[in-house]
Structure formats: structure tokens, C-alpha cells
């Protein structure tokens, strides 16, 4: 065991004494490594699904960051697509470099490949965050978008809601958007459609779910809720601890 740890650069208390046995095992490990290398090459067709060195359970058993499983990817994409629809494609295939999603501490991070490579040097328990956090998986394996994803949702959002300056404050404190605070809303928004909430100055304030369709919004009384609150930028102040 000591030999293996030597090989992988873990510190051990004793200098290497067991030369003979060690060499034998090294050979064995080398062979195994070679096997992995071949296997990995085959896996590496798509970078986004490829395991990097730090994700290799053999090389880095403690590394916590990993690509999403298919199931996780599906759940997450479904959620994101509620807000940006088919624009999701733009997130995945970007002209300015390879970007991928990584799971770390139950959180999904959206990072460029370059950054990912550097982050590979950092052990899992020391890594706090990288790139942009999109949200987290709950214990029941549902995906919950964080407000930190707003930077990527807002530009691609399909359905938007603008709220009046007077209602900004209320929304930023975590309240739903009432009809009285509603400034504008995208036409043909259907009920329970994910919407991004903007201020009248076009500053993205958060996102939520339309409680009423655009048509219904016109008829409804002023105190009725038109957008259910999901996340708002006030959380940067209110929930700073839970962002990661």
C-alpha cells in the first residue's frame, strides 16, 4: 500500500525502503494504468463526457467534481429549458470555446474547459466553486436553479416580465409579483411558464414562474399574483451562505 501511495505522490511517513516489492507492484500498477489509458481514449469522443484526470477514481479517489450523469443532465436541462427553451443549445455549443457542466458538492457548475483544467489541480475538498454555479440537486434529485444562473438565463430568456420600480423592492425581498407591480409581460406567455423578471430599466432581477397567462393577466385584479417568485438577486445579500 505504501508503494502505491508513493507512486501517486501521497506523503507517507517513511522513506521508501521496500525497494524490491515496490518495484514489482509498480509494474502491476503501470500495467493497469496503461489499460485505463486505452479505455479513456475510447471514452474521450466527446469532451463533455470525458473523465479528466482528477475525475478518475483510480488516480484521484478523493476528487469530488465529476461530469453529470445522463439522468442528472436530463433533469437539469429540463429545468433550464423552462426558461430559455431551445436556446439551451447555445449554452452547450459555444463558439468561444468548450464549456461543460460539472457536478461538485451537489452543485452544477458551468465552466470553460480551460478553467476546468486548472481546477483539476485542486483537490475536491479544497475546491469551493468554479465558473458559474447554475443550481443544485436536492436530496431527492430534483434540480433547483440558483440566482447565480441568472447571468445565463437572462440573455437567452424567451419569456420576460418587467416590473414597475415601485414593485422592485418587494420582489427583491423575495415576494411574488402582483398584478399592480407588473409593468410589461411577453405576449403569449402561458401559465406556469418560466419567466425572467426585469426591472423597467432592463436590469434582470430574478426569475420565476408565470402564475397567469398573458391573457389572464389583463383581467385579473391588481392584488393577484402574476409571477411566482423563484429566485431574485436580493439573495446575494439574503442568502449569501447558501449560494455555494
Amino acid at each position: 500500500m505504501g508503494c502505491a501511495s508513493c507512486l501517486y505522490g501521497f506523503s507517507s511517513d517513511r522513506p521508501v525502503l521496500q525497494a524490491a516489492s515496490c518495484r514489482r507492484r509498480n509494474k502491476w500498477i503501470a500495467a493497469r494504468e496503461a489499460g485505463f489509458r486505452i479505455a479513456r481514449k475510447q471514452l474521450a469522443a466527446d469532451f463533455r463526457f470525458r473523465r479528466l484526470r482528477h475525475e478518475d477514481p483510480v488516480v484521484q479517489p478523493s476528487g469530488k467534481m465529476r461530469p453529470l450523469t445522463e439522468e442528472e443532465t436530463r433533469v437539469m436541462f429540463e429545468k433550464v429549458a423552462k426558461y430559455i427553451g431551445e436556446n439551451l443549445q447555445l449554452l452547450v455549443d459555444r463558439p468561444d470555446g468548450t464549456y461543460c457542466f460539472r457536478l461538485h458538492n451537489d452543485r452544477v457548475y458551468y465552466v470553460s474547459e480551460k478553467i476546468l483544467k486548472l481546477a483539476a489541480n485542486i483537490s475536491g475538498d479544497k475546491l469551493v466553486s468554479l465558473g458559474t454555479c447554475f443550481g443544485k440537486f436536492t436530496k431527492t434529485h430534483k434540480f433547483r436553479l440558483h440566482v447565480t444562473a441568472l447571468d445565463y438565463l437572462a440573455p437567452y430568456a424567451k419569456y420576460k416580465v418587467w416590473i414597475k420600480p415601485g414593485a422592485e423592492q418587494s420582489f427583491l425581498y423575495g415576494n411574488h409579483v402582483l398584478k399592480s407591480g407588473l409593468g410589461r409581460i411577453t405576449e403569449n406567455t402561458s401559465q406556469y411558464q418560466g419567466v425572467v423578471v426585469y426591472s423597467m430599466a432592463d436590469i434582470p432581477l430574478g426569475f420565476g414562474v408565470a402564475a397567469k397567462s398573458t391573457q389572464d393577466c389583463r383581467k385579473v385584479d391588481p392584488m393577484a399574483i402574476v409571477v411566482f417568485h423563484q429566485a431574485d438577486i436580493g439573495e446575494y445579500v439574503r442568502h449569501e451562505e447558501t449560494l455555494t
Binding site: 507517507s12 517513511r14 485542486i122 447565480t148 430599466a201
Partner: protein, 840 residues
Amino acid sequence: MSTLCACAERFGGVTMGRKLDPTKKERRGPGRKARKQKGAETELARFLPAAGDEGSKRLSSRARKRAAKRRLVSAEASERNKSPGAKPLPGKLPKGAVRTPGKKAAPALLNTTQGKKRRASALSSEEEEEDSEEDGLVNQCDLWGSEDSDADMIDDYGADSSAEDQDEDEGEELLPIEKAARKQKAQEAASGVQWSEEETEEEDESPKSGGKDEEVDGGLQINMEEESFVLPPVGEVENDILPEQRGVKGRRYGMAGPSRTWDRVHKRIQHIVGVLRDFGAQREEGRSRAEYLNRLQKDLATYYSYGDFLLGKLTDLFPLSELVEFLEANEVPRPITLRTNTLKTRRRDLAQALINRGVNLDPLGKWSKTGLVVYDSSVPIGATPEYLAGHYMLQGASSMLPVMALAPQEHERILDMCCAPGGKTSYIAQLMKNTGVILANDANAERLKSVVGNLHRLGVTNAIISHYDGRQFPKVVGGFDRVLLDAPCSGTGIISKDPAVKTNKDEKDILRCAHLQKELLLSAIDSVNAASRTGGYLVYCTCSIMVEENEWVVDYALKKRNVRLVSTGLDFGQEGFTRFRERRFHPTLRSTRRFYPHTHNMDGFFIAKFKKFSNSIPQSQTGDSAASAASNPDLSDLKGQATPKPESSGQPAQKARVAVKTKQQLKKQLHPKKASFQKQKGFSTGTDSELSSVPSVTKTQTSSKLQNSPRPAEKAKVISQPKVTGKRKQQPPKQSSKMGESLRQNGPSKGTDTAVPAGPPHPKTPKLKHRAQPLGRTPGSQKVKQQLPEQPIKQAAFQKQNGTPNGPKTPTESPNSSNRPPPAKRRKSQSRGNSESLLS
């Protein structure tokens, strides 16, 4: 006469108040305590007639005469009414003289109120004010007040003014009479008792009775002031100050109430500073500068509530006048500044948006294209929708400077070693336009939460956030183009933010900080890739102004690594010290920058920018012992040989060989000349390089260090020692620097350090060391103590002694080692480290 004078004062007080106000404002201490200060003022006046007071005093006597004349000759109010401007003048002057103290005492009050008070037997209490109003004399007060300042009149006394109209003529006629009457009243009320009390106080400094009525006190003292100013010659009073206070202050002023003390102390500070400025002329006979300084320091410590240690440090740092300014500046918060996040918006747009929200702001300065300074705001500036949307970051002006000095370029790899709370990191990202990679590291996991929040809020997408201890750094990841090290520090530059610093720091804290900073700086330097095409720079900054945490640390790094200081690119700020008391630093420290609250109106800050010119570590690290810093190699010679070597990350063996060679060469040069000196002084590590540097400089440096700074060196040793052992246990196979050090301590000489791990004794080394230490320590340290009184060298000497018996071997052994390729193990470990960082 006296009654008349008093009257004159009262009248004059009103007018005088207006005219003198601007000058007086400066002297006001704490505004809230204005009322209480009255007493202090009177007392102070007795002891401390300021330069300005003399003139006013003279005037007062004249003025009194005039006032008396006036009253006797003409009691007609018409004149006064016709020429309001003329009247105040005579009245003003005398009052100015006499009232000066009283006025200071109640600076915050409006002129009108002052006037009333004065008339009302100069009592400060509100009750009395009311009384005066009732008397109907009020009218005149109001009149005076109105003359003085129209605006002031408006407030409370509108009701009175209506009464005024009726009584105008009468009031003026009555005025002198009233004055006289009131003065008599006051005297009677206060009675001779108080007079006697005052006198006794003056004479024997008996502690004041706490039970004394403040109001009465005030009244009496105002009366007293005239006397005290007139009677004692100025010179005597001044002379009294020093001795008096020395003995009595504690008792007396403790009783008398804080406000009194404050003002008094403040006065004294001003006085002493004035004296010290022109010491030859102004000092009193037979008093040394030290006495004055001592007194001043105590006063400053009291007045600004600093601990003795920090104040001492600050006194070393600043000339006196500047010191007071600095302390004063620390009482005032710095202006709120914010930095536009150019990733999301432009400064003009942001400014417009904020102005629409009722924020009053301006561009920060010519030097910043993104900064805004906020004067006042009707909304919380840290919770506007713009803030939450990440359009700006609240950031002190001084915090932007290091990043500007760092000048990050796009597509670089940058390390921010101590990043919390992420202000500088986000600035870096914004300068890089979100390209490249930033590794934001901080040792404190709690504070990293705010980093995460801030970076996400500001839309920084190119950052990795980790929480390593910064000292592990070159091992985790290396090869950065630029590194920003905002080292943890004692925070002496941001006292206005955290006043606790005033008292809770001592020598140990500073040195502990300095030690940590040195470690961090070395690992930061090691993390920089000198071969970087665009970079190879490192910025070191602290929010401390202590030389120990700044110049000293930088100087240490200059000696230890292949770095040189380059201009920070900031065209303002003061140059770093190249010499400070007993310390002499590298002349290039002139290119570092210091920022002070009182000169730049930003937090105290220090910024140094390094350029790394070679990745090789000169002279394989000699460990962290600060003693070695005392006389460390001037690297110029080593540089000559090491510099041409490029990165060479793939060829550690070569590197090692070169290092060894250079060392040997140095050794050879050095031994004949300096061997004896070395042994005497007990320097083991550093001295070999002394030859290479300018000899005179180095000698003075070393000697001065020895004499004057024994403590730091010793302490650093103590700190570093256990760490060394601890680390050694953890990772013996890795030939770390610490290992090297420990080996060297036991081993024959430096030249052999590469050979040692290669040889068979490797596993034994730890044991060997334990054996050697106790042996060496007891006799060695004793001897050294006898030889040299200085403690710091103790250990260095002990090392030397361990080394000396083997010393002769050195030359014979070392050639072998240099020829021999470095040990396989070592090669492996090094190559592994490199490959890891490259692999990524």
C-alpha cells in the same frame, strides 16, 4: 469695573461668536461634549494661553475700557440700532479675549443661544436660557443674534423676536443695568465659596470635588477666566504645564470628568507639537526633547486611545506633525467609494442610475476610470438594485490600486492568493474581460462565501475559488502569469474601519504577521512563472503601514528569490522606505508605494510590484529563519549565473547543479577572507554572500540588526523551528526546502545539501538530527551567550557550531556532490511536481 467688563463680554460674546467661529471650529474636540468642555476651557485658559490668545487678551483690556466708557457716557440704544455693524466690533474684541474658552466649550450652539447664555450670567444650562428669555432681556440677545446671523435667528426664537419688536428701545437701555444686576446675582449665587475653590485648585491642585455643580462651575469659571488671563504672566503658565500635569493629572482629571480632560489634553498636544517644531526657541529651559516627546506620546495615547506599542510604532514612522494628522485621519471614516463593474455596465450609466436613486457621487479621480466616490445617499448604497445586479462593487480606493499595479492582461493565468471578500479578484476579472483563468484562494472558508457571492453577483465566470493555505501554493498549482498577494496583516492602515487595532496589537502580532507574510510571499513568488510571455509579475500589498510587514518582507523576498522590484505604475503615493531606523533595505524599495489616510484620504496601504526573472530558486531555500534575513546574500552574483538559465522546469537536476556550483564558488571566494568573521559572529547561512554585496553596506546592516533587532529574529526562529520539524515528519521522501534546511543544520556545510539526501544516511537523518541538537545546543548556546550578548544569533551560532567541526570537509565533499547527478528520488519528486502543474 468687573461688572462692566462682564457685561461687555456678554454682549460681545454674541458678535464674537460669529466672527471667531471658523477659527474655533478647528479646536473643538468631540462636538457632542461641547457643553461639558466649558470647564476644561476655563482651566486650560489659565495654564495655556495659546499664541492667538495673547493678542485677544490685549484687545480685551482695551475693549473693556471702551465698553466701560460707552456705558458710562451713553446708554442710548438708538446708536446701537442704527449702526449694528459698529457695535459688535468693540464688544466683539473683548469677548473674544475673555470668552474664547467659553465659546470653545459650547461650539455647537448657535450664536443666538450663546448670546442668551452669556447674558444669563453665562450659565450654560438650558433652564437658565429660559430664564433669560423670561427676563425680557432676551430681546436684545435676539437682536444681537439677528445681526450676527440671520439664519440662526429663525429657529427657536421666533417667538422672542416678536417680543423684541416691542421692547427694542427699552431693551437696549436696560441692557447695562441688567448686565450689572445679573452679574451680581451670579456672584452671589455662586458665592465666594467657589472662588476659593478655584483658587485652591490652582494652587495646590487638590482634586476637584465631583459634587460641584456644573452650572455654577461654568459661571464661576467664566468669571475666573478674566482674572486668570490677566494675572499670571504667560510664560509662567506655560512653564507650569509640564510638571503639573505629570504629577497631578491622573488624580485630578479623573475626577473632573472626561470632557475636560480631552480638551485639555488636546490643547497640550497642540502646544507640545508647536514647541517641538521649533525646539530651540520654544522649549522651556532645562527640559529635554525626550521629556516633551514622552509627554506628547502619553497625551496622544490618551486622546486618541491608542495602545502604547502602536503609538510608539507610529511615532517612529511619522514626523510629529504628520503623526497628529494621521491619528486625526484615523478618527474619520474614509469616503465611500465604489467601482463600476465594466463587465455589466459603464461608469456613466451607473452614475446616472445612482443619481436617479438619490445618490450624490463623483468620479473618484483621474487615476481611476471605474471608481466613483459617494458623498451621500438617500438609499442604502449596498442594497440598491444596481448593486444586487452586480453593476458595482463597494471597494475602498486603496483596494483598487494593487490591481491596477498588477495590470492583468487578457488570457492570463492569475492567482489571487488571499482573495476574500473578492473585491480585487473581481477587479482583476473585469480587467481581463472574463478571459483567462483566475484562481481565487483564501484560507478562511467562512470568508470565501462572500467571495462566491460577490463573484457571481458581478458576473465573473473565469474564476476558480479554493481554500488552501496560501503557503501550500506552488505545490498545488504553479506557473501563474501574475500573482496578487494581499497578505493578511495587522490592519494598521485601516484603523478608521477597525478601531480595535489601536489597542490590541503588540510586537508579537506584528512579527507573527510579518513571518506569515514572508512565507506567503515566497510561495507566491514560487508560483509565478518567470518565463511567462506576458507576465511574470507579482504584486504584494498589505493594508498595514508597519515597516515590519512591508519593506522588511519585501526586502527579505529580494534576498531569497530571483525577483526584482519594478515600478508599480501608480504615479502617486509615497515611496517606500529604503532605510528605517536601524534597518537598511535594498535601494530599489523606492519603487514601492505607500498610501496614508491623511495624505491620500484612502486607507493606509502598501504596494510592491515584483518581476520574477528566473524560476530557479537561488541557493536552495535556507529556511524561514529571520536571522538569516539579517545578512542574506545580495543575489547579484548568483543572479549572474542563474539568470541565463531559463525556466528549466523539466530539468531540476541541472538547476540543482548550477545552484550548487554557484554556492561553491561563493564559498571559495569567501572562505579565506571571511571565515574568521563568520565564526566570530556566528553567522551560518547568510554570510557567504557578504562578499558579493557591497561590503560596507552589508556590514552595517548586519551589525545594526544584531544590536537593535534581537527580538524579531529570535522570535521568527522560534516560530519556524517547530514547523520545520513537523513538516519534516510529514514528508521525508520529498526533498522539500525544509528538509534541506534541517539537513544543513546537521550537515557539514551548505555545499553538500544536495549530496546528503542522495547518500545512504538518508533514512537516518531525523535521528541524526535529534542526536545532534541536544548535544550542540547546550554547549553551543552557552558559549555563544558568553561571547555575544545578542540573542538572535544564538541559534545561528549553534548551527554554525554544529557545522564547524565538519567544516574542513566541505570543500572536499562538495565537488563530488556537484558532479554527481541529483538523487533519483529527488528527481522523481520534482519532476512529478512539475508534470502535475503542467498536465492540468
